[in-house]
Amino acid sequence: MLKYILKRLGLSVLILIGVSLIVYILIRCMPVSFVESKIAAMNQGGVQVPKETVDAMYEMYGLADSSFLGILKGYGSWLNALLHFDLGQSFVYGDSVLNVIVEHMGVSFAIAFIAIIFEYLIAIPLGVTAATHQYSVRDYVVTIIVMVGISLPSFFFARVLQNVFALKLGWFPSAGMENTAAGYKGIFRLLDQLKHIALPLIAMVILSIGGTMRYMRTNMLEVLNSDYIRTARAKGLKESKVIYKHAFRNTMIPIVTMMAGILPTLFSGAMITEQIFDLPGIGNVALKATVSADIPFIMGYNMFLAILSVVGVLLSDLMYMVVDPRVKLA
């Protein structure tokens, strides 16, 4: 077990080095003059980028030297800084990149976490009924919900929600995280925030529910076709007992492993939804940083995402072994 985990960890480090190399090379493809002009534009536009920060970035990324050796050296110094948890200073936010990420990932995580709870609460029962009543009207309805859910473009759906429920009906605020002008305190502030994130939540739940529901249905069908279910039925057990005691528990194996894999990625933020509803989540922050060529932040954010997805894969594999003892270590 320990050996397996160590092997996987080693592999993860290898993957992360590969990812960072690709991201680094991509960033080096940006012409230096372009970066300079962007910094100049930022200086004019009110965001002050101190000279030292820019110099530090040039040194850290070795931007001035674009020979092959220079690129290698730049990558080395960036890696070295990373090992000291130094991701550089963000231009746009004027703070260290790590701080900006930590500061904003909470909002993204909170929203994504609530969304995923709702998603599973709705998707699991619907997926199960669709499977137990295969080819019935219910199954048909679930299939259509699944299809529509995975076919909706996130930006369009979010805009429609915003238009109908915020601008036309006025039930929810159209953007932002809280009403700072009202100066709510305590529980009222929380309620106000909940009201603000209601629409993004709905958007995220509906956009991601399709895939989960389909996954649930496929798994349940597979389990229902297995031998021990036939045995349970042959013993004369009640159908409800067969389904909820024998079948349902076994469908939870893949679901639990999937959840373990998803958990870290909840921190990564939903770029488009956050942009549309103007939430201060990490996705929105990253989008703004990319538009203004904030190199330290882009680099740090991409590494952050890569680490999250590597951890996710690792967690879900480990969880698989914990939940299902039949899985042998490979």
Binding site: P153, F155, N163, A286, S309
Partner: protein
């Protein structure tokens, strides 16, 4: 969906001359010969039958065909407006200015000067006979841009999916067939590519394209090339997994014994057997490619105005006035995206059920 009978040979009434051979025992009165009960069908026909039995796949097919016809033949028949040339017959707006004029006898008159303003372009025209879906903020006809935008969105997605499939089949096939260190290298590369965050990477590439001053209409092609380079990993894994399984089958041992060349074994015996899964995954990824392209254009990275693409047209919602008041500008492109993606997903699902009866959902 509708599958009630799983009998692969449901037809009993029809007579098939192919099935009748010489030397069949004489048929007794009132008894049907066995060979008249069966009807021979090629695998392809069986797949087609199963596919067309599902209503959803037919609906999907109709949706896709309708969109293709609309986008490619639409502009041929409806050429009143162009994609990039705004309607310059703006309405005339009347304004007036008031002047106080003192006449010779001392009374003051109020004089109004009527100013006739001919707006250069016909912006924000409501839907009507002139413009079926109205015009957008720069006086471009929405209906016509819908057709041109669809051409971009659909053709780019097709090309990207084909490219991804070709790269995936070649690399996955090599990895699965040869195994060993080749397999290891290719699969680790896949792992890395799978961990690359998709949209943020494309955002970086977008700003690189900005820096290189790539013209607006060709940006999306570059981005889709990058997208192809980053997304073949899934297909390669699928192909590799299948080939690992198929390699151990008896018919491959037979092929080995026949002394076939390696390329013949891979491309003639292994790849055709991966094809069903491949076709299904291609159809399904067509849908996601359309979504990807639309998202990129929406974020302003892909096709840029005045060139049309469905995502770019929805991008106008960043202007709150348009979002609030002009659904006719940004609604139709969004609906087109949904129809396209939904269509491909329906067809992909139908194909999966039809091609692989064991895997029936």
């Amino acid at each position: 969906m509708e599958e009630k009978d799983n009998n692969l040979f449901p037809e009993t009434e029809e007579f098939n001359p192919m099935a009748e051979t010489e030397g069949v025992a004489p048929i007794e009165e009132g008894e049907k010969p066995l060979d008249r009960n069966v009807r021979l069908m090629s695998p392809g026909r069986m797949v087609a039958r199963r596919f067309f039995r599902s209503k959803l796949s037919i609906i999907g097919l109709v949706m896709i065909l309708a969109l293709l016809l609309f986008c490619w033949f639409g502009p041929v028949f409806y050429s009143r407006w162009d994609e990039r040339i705004p309607d310059s017959n703006g309405q005339i707006e009347y304004n007036y200015k008031t002047f106080q004029v003192e006449a010779a006898d001392g009374t003051t008159y109020e004089v109004r000067q009527v100013i006739e303003v001919r707006k250069g372009t016909n912006t924000f025209a409501p839907p009507g006979p002139d413009h079926l879906l109205g015009t957008d903020d720069s006086g471009l006809d929405v209906f016509v841009r819908l057709m041109y935008g669809g051409r971009v969105s659909l053709s780019i997605s097709f090309i990207a999916v084909f490219a991804i499939t070709i790269i995936g089949v070649i690399l996955g096939g090599i990895a699965g067939y040869f195994g060993g260190w080749v397999d290891n290298v290719i699969m680790r590369l896949c792992d890395i590519l799978m961990c690359l965050p998709g949209l943020p990477i494309l955002l970086i590439l977008g700003s690189i394209l900005d820096a290189m001053e790539v013209p607006g209409e060709s940006r999306i092609y570059y981005l889709m090339i990058f997208l192809t380079i980053f997304s073949w990993a899934g297909t390669a894994r699928l192909v590799r997994g299948q080939i690992l399984f198929l390699r151990e089958q008896e018919y491959m041992v037979a092929a080995e014994a026949m002394g076939f060349s390696t390329s013949r074994k891979i491309f003639k015996h292994l790849v055709p057997n991966v094809l069903p899964q491949l076709i299904v995954s291609m159809t399904l990824s067509l849908g996601s490619m359309i979504l990807y392209e639309a998202s990129l254009s929406y974020l302003g990275l892909g096709t840029q105005a005045p060139n049309a693409s469905w995502g770019t047209m929805v991008n106008l919602t960043n202007n709150e006035d348009i979002l609030r008041n002009y659904f006719n500008i940004w609604g139709p492109p969004g609906i087109c995206i949904i129809i396209a993606v939904l269509g491909f997903n329906f067809v992909g699902d139908g194909l999966r059920d039809a091609l692989d009866p064991k895997m029936r959902r």
